[in-house]
Amino acid sequence: MSRPHRFRPGQILAHLLLLFLAFLFLFPFYVMVVTSVRSPQELFVPEFRWLPQQFTGLQYYIQAVTDIPALTFLRNGIIVSGGILVVQLLTAIPCAYALAKFEFRGRDLLFALVLFSLTVPIQAPALPLFLGLNAIGAIDTYFAAMAPFFLSVFAIFLFRQTFRSYPDEIIQAARLDGMSEWAILWTIVVPGCLPAVAAFSVFSVTAHWNDLYWPMIVIRSNDLMTPPLGLSFFADSESGANYGALMATATILTAPLMIGFLLAQRHFIRGITMTGVK
């Protein structure tokens, strides 16, 4: 089982090295949290103290949800990334099913277009998408923040691979029972492929929760800002020098994904690195 020559001194050395690197990797998280609970005077003394001399408790967290609308950003993040995910699943799953289990004219062309689109980042169609949304008067709406991502070619690609290995016999049996293709897809095939759905959901929600680029283009009002946009807007405003409140807000807005990651580590790692191992 074990690799040959596993010397104890080597192990200890490896641990020391890794612990040092782990410390460096975690340090920004530590600074974020500790700054959110220490008084501003302490930030300007020329010495870094590990623990707050004066513990401010939840003061800055209360400020974050009252002065800075951190909860509004949080809500917008949930609406936008949740809305995107739902539409992505509703549109990509049937298309992937058609590509995986049907033969029709144009299938290869459609799949080739999906493969091509996989390599196109959002920045490429951004200008015309903005002009189009502006033309229909949709700038500064949830719809504008979500619409460019309604189609996920990555979801189509992933679910096509998953559905292809789904046993044909089960689908055939359901057809003989007189079930419609839509019913077969949503009540039999999809429930059988939930791990793929879960992995994609993690991937999608993480990507859109964290996206700054597109919300920056189409969202103007504070009420509609997603977490990254709200945070960067606040940091650039006059009160951005209020480090305690800034770090408390950053903590609040980073927390949902962090907690999700800590609870479902395996799903997160698989979901996020999925694009890397396709």
């Binding site: 690799r3 040959p4 020559h5 192990q11 090295l17 890794l18 690197l21 782990a22 990797f25 920004p28 998280f29 600074v31 974020m32 700054t35 549109t91 049937p94 298309c95 099913y97 058609a98 995986a100 289990k101 049907f102 033969e103 004219r105 459609l110 277009l113 689109s117 980042p121 920045q123 490429a124 169609p125 200008l127 015309p128 998408l129 002009l131 189009g132 460019p148 309604f150 189609l151 293709e181 993480t206 929760w209 964290n210 700054l212 680029y213 920056m216 283009i217 977490p227 990254p228 945070l231 960067s232 950053a250 807005l253 980073t254 994904l257 990651f261 580590q265 996020i272 694009t275 890397g276």
Partner: protein, 307 residues
């Protein structure tokens, strides 16, 4: 010979399950996606390419066809060329550092008897963290006078560094953040590559008298990680090339253009100055470079199959 193989494989391949059903069902299933594909990807890209040959400014009614003028102006545009240079310099820092660090972490953790899960968790944490939030933390961390990093330097008797205020250091500072947020991702990809190396190869190497860890790493691990390595290099390059968030949050392209990068310059041109025509030309340049990377990536994936 390969052609024969493909042909016979095609003949032997069973027809798809839906082959006997009316294709109308398949069209119905695919229709929403096809519509969205046209509306959000294909048509916008065509419009963007057309725009790049015009002098269109947002808000103006007239559009003038200017042919290749936008492109020829880009070549002489000092801001754009600087952004292009900065982007490549940035990639040249981020890619090697994040790939090597990812490999180093994966190999070191793979050899551990205990604590693998803990280390993977820690090093992957920055990958999941909201980059904009963490960028603000880094901005404070490296702040020229009150940043904890500088306070520590000073307590060691070293001079303070105003990283994001220094033209020579700002881009490297942003690169460091990207290495921090990307190394864990690469670590996971390398870890997957490591588990696929058969144990027997190490045993065989040991029997051949290859005793040193370094020997084994150089002669067994590294060659077998080759395809993974290529793949990680290309994905890291693509990620680094798309740098935007940290620039938009921390430096805004400054000091004096030192961190102007391709996507940020294009963003300003299109959505701040509303010069859509030249922003479109910049986007075409960006997309072309992305396509080259994607092509290399596809080639690498093809090769990966043969190993």
């Amino acid at each position: 010979m390969p052609a024969d193989v493909t042909l016979s494989a095609m003949a032997a391949r069973p027809r798809r399950l839906g082959a006997r059903l009316s294709p109308r069902i398949a069209y119905g299933l695919a229709a929403p996606s096809v519509l969205l594909l046209v509306l959000t990807v294909l048509a916008p890209i065509l419009v963007m390419i057309v725009l790049s040959f015009t002098s269109y400014r947002f808000g103006e009614t007239g559009v003038e066809w200017t042919g290749l003028e936008n492109y020829s102006q880009l070549v002489g545009d000092r801001t754009f060329m600087r952004a292009l240079r900065n982007t490549f310099a940035y990639v040249a820092m981020v890619t090697p550092a994040s790939v090597l660090l990812g490999l180093f972490l994966a190999v070191l953790i793979d050899g551990l008897g205990h604590g693998r899960g803990f280390y993977r968790l820690v090093f992957f944490l920055p990958v999941t963290a909201t980059l904009v939030a963490m960028a603000l933390v880094w901005k404070y961390l490296l702040h020229g006078s009150i940043g904890p990093f500088n306070l520590m330097l000073q307590s060691l008797g070293l001079p303070a560094l105003d990283i994001f205020g220094d033209r020579d250091l700002a881009l490297a500072g942003l690169a460091a953040i990207n290495v921090w947020s990307l190394a864990g991702f690469n670590m996971v990809l390398f870890a997957a590559g490591l588990t696929s190396i058969p144990e027997e190869l190490y045993e065989a190497a040991a029997m051949d008298g290859m005793d040193g860890k370094l020997d084994r790493f150089l002669n067994v691990t590294l060659p077998l990680l080759g395809p993974t390595m290529m793949f990680v290099i290309v994905t890291s390059t693509i990620t680094a090339f798309k740098v935007f968030d940290t620039v938009a949050v921390i430096t805004h392209g400054g000091p004096r253009g030192a961190t102007d990068v391709l996507l940020y310059t294009t963003y300003l041109e299109g959505f701040s100055y509303f010069r859509m025509g030249s922003a479109a030309a910049m986007t075409v340049v960006f997309l072309s470079i992305m396509m080259i990377f994607a092509w290399i990536q596809a080639r690498v994936l093809d090769r990966k199959v043969h190993y």
